[in-house]
Amino acid sequence: MRILLKMMAVCVMGLAGSASALDLDGLRDKLKSQLPPEAAKVAQVAKEVQGPDEQEEIAIGRQIAGNLLGAAPLVKDAKLQKYVNQVGRWVASQSERPDLSWHFGVIQSEDVNAFAAPGGYIFVTLGLYRLLQSEADLAGVLGHEIGHVIRKHHLKILQQSKLVDAGSQALARQSGSSRVQQLIGNGAEIVARSLDKDAEFEADRMGVVLAARAGYDAFGLPAVLQQIGHAATDDNRVALLFKTHPLPADRLAKLEDAMGDRFDHVKGITLEKRLQRVK
């Protein structure tokens, strides 16, 4: 017992420096003042490994979504916006995160693209929406973006680029959205960053499966990719998409390899007539 105490005292002395081994109250105070920074460091390391929690993820996503909408506002068509939310939420309900507060929207841009931000914020451009020929096509496109959210592909690149670290340091000095803004960099730049090619192929595979789970024809996403692949590579409406994603032909070839004959007997519905048309 005595030896143990002595050993503890030595350890504590090592930690606390000038603490007197016999002054127990003082020792407790010393320990208190020593431990929190250590604990905080542990929490910090854990955060770097696991990533931000769901609340933070949503805060990050909200900021990115708000910035994206600053670049291209929503199409002013409430019926259309409600419709994409219903389709999107139904597809997302088949994922591992059915209870996330998912948001979907069509944005006013003739570009052909779709964006996913952490926390379940997903936007499709009007240019892409015009290419859709059925609700199953929409389900496939949204399924691809839902895949990015589920696998936290964008959150991971934020972490890799050490921005999360910089952000948590800024936390000490700031609060609210300015902190999150610092974390994501400029504007909505993060959504225009290229993900790893494998992350895109993975999201494609998830998109067809999520659409199939939701009861749709699984070939909606491939149909849209074929339609996009039809575009000239010098068409500036696909410039950003082609810059940040593998080319449609590569994505289709990968999907073909992965889908194989697995969907031969999985009949789904396309709901062409229910697709909300746009002007």
């Binding site: 015009r130 504007g187 009861g215 032909a249 990968k254 697995r262 009949k267």
Partner: protein, 164 residues
């Protein structure tokens, strides 16, 4: 502005019949099938690069005309847009959607807006639009009802492994 619209309309009218018979080419050699399933009777063998005319779709299958024969091929074995001479590849749906004519000429540039990295970088937070976007959210129960109206039935399906 007004004449721009008329021009787009002309473009649509011109290109519409072309879309009805979209062209494609085979990216894999495979059998033209009598019906849209794998063990259906073979009509003939198609080779990589063979031109097909797409006339219909059923799930993962395209109904096509290949030379004098017609039948079904797997959708992912076809690459769209390989057009016959005289029919421009630009007469795609994408071209239509963006107001381009079959010649690939831009007929109307109003409203065409590209989202580039600079624009995204410079974008400022729009709280009002975000609030509007969030107001359209559908709840889980709402989505379920919506699915039922469309006769969509949820089913189990495992995620696909990446092919080697």
């Amino acid at each position: 502005m007004k004449s721009g619209r008329v021009l787009v309309l002309c473009g649509l009218l011109l290109a519409a019949p072309v879309v009805a018979a979209e062209m494609g080419s085979m990216v894999r050699g495979e059998e033209l099938k009598a019906e849209p399933f794998r063990d259906a009777k073979s009509v003939k063998q198609l080779a990589v690069g063979d031109k097909v005319q797409i006339t219909g779709k059923d799930g993962g299958w395209f109904k096509v005309k290949a030379g004098k024969s017609s039948g079904w091929v797997r959708m992912l074995s076809v690459r769209k847009g390989e057009a016959k001479s005289g029919v421009s590849a630009a007469s795609s749906l994408l071209a239509l959607a963006s107001g381009r004519t079959a010649t690939g000429k831009v007929m109307a540039s109003t409203g065409v807006r590209g989202l580039n990295e600079e624009e995204l970088k410079a974008a400022a937070f729009n709280a009002q639009e975000l609030q509007r976007a969030e107001s359209y959210a559908a709840g889980k129960a709402d989505a379920q009802q919506f699915a039922a109206q469309g006769k969509l039935v949820a089913r189990q399906f495992d995620y696909l492994p990446a092919a080697k």
